[in-house]
């Protein structure tokens, strides 16, 4: 099982600013180790939900950096709302983590 994501969701007005850090090697298949190419291993799809409703989703390639960071914004969120993020990689591995929206300063 992959390491947990770090998700932070902070309210700015009625917009939740969500930042996600995923732990993943994101191998491109181009890199070599001891003369052999390291096989492709990367996150292919990401889905984010606000209280169970999909608000943001992405299909990505191996060109995203290692330990990917994404940020997005959701309007109409309230403090205490639940943000759930799921990723799935090309080996079928998947991970879901959640957090609650916090009031901004």
């Amino acid at each position: 099982m992959a390491d947990p994501m770090k998700i932070r969701a902070t309210l700015q007005g009625d917009v939740a600013d969500v930042r996600v850090l995923m732990a993943h090697p994101m191998e491109t298949g181009q890199r070599k180790q001891a003369g052999k190419a390291v096989p492709l291993h990367f996150i292919q799809s990401i889905t984010a939900q606000l209280n169970g409703r999909t608000v943001f989703s992405a299909d990505i390639s191996q060109a995203i950096s290692r330990n990917p960071v994404f940020a997005f914004k959701v309007k109409g969120a309230k403090a205490g709302d639940k943000i759930t993020v799921t990723w799935k990689d090309n080996k079928g591995e998947t991970r879901t983590d959640e957090t609650t929206v916090r009031a901004g300063s």
């Binding site: 917009v15 930042r19 994101m26 491109t28 298949g29 181009q30 890199r31 070599k32 190419a37 096989p39 492709l40 292919q44 799809s45 606000l50 409703r53 999909t54 608000v55 943001f56 989703s57 992405a58 299909d59 990505i60 390639s61 191996q62 060109a63 995203i64 950096s65 290692r66 990917p68 960071v69 994404f70 940020a71 997005f72 914004k73 959701v74 309007k75 109409g76 969120a77 799935k88 090309n90 080996k91 079928g92």
Partner: protein
């Protein structure tokens, strides 16, 4: 960046191998053809992007010169009403199509991502809004590549 023909072939072979080993269901939505396209244009074709108009309402905030091509942060904002998705193409990467970000139910058409860039290249963004496509590009110079090593 030093890139021989062999590394390219190797990378592609690895990509195809990995794809063949996977159950097909896992690829249902992921557009393999677009992700394996070798040029931004072919990638767009595979995604059905045609007649993209240049637009000044798309803002790409990325460094002019990236010191480390392995991690190039960028903020992309679309000010076009009715934006449903943002797609990113790093034109000179071995596989330019980097991803599509879709927005629904109140999400603001904004995304921050960090990408690997192999060599100095235009970063092209295509926004889908109301069934039409809009595009803009920003040149990013890279001093150390993000592939290999």
């Amino acid at each position: 960046m030093l890139q021989t023909r062999r590394t390219v072939t190797f990378g592609l072979a690895a990509a195809l191998g990995a794809a063949l080993l996977k159950p097909l269901s896992a690829l249902a939505a992921w557009n393999q053809g677009a992700f394996q396209a070798k040029s931004a244009l072919d990638g767009m074709k595979a995604l059905g992007i045609t007649n993209a108009q240049d637009s000044g309402d798309i803002v790409i905030r990325a460094p002019d010169i990236a010191e480390n091509g392995a991690v190039v942060p960028m903020d992309i904002t679309s000010n076009i009403p009715g934006t449903t998705s943002i797609s990113v193409f790093i034109e000179k990467n071995p596989f330019p199509y980097t991803g599509t970000f879709e927005f629904a139910a109140g999400a603001v058409p904004f995304v921050h991502l960090r990408a690997k860039i192999g060599e100095s290249t235009p970063v092209r963004v295509v926004v889908a809004a109301g069934g039409k496509f809009y595009t803009t590009a920003k040149e990013v110079k890279v001093t150390i590549g993000g592939c290999g090593g």
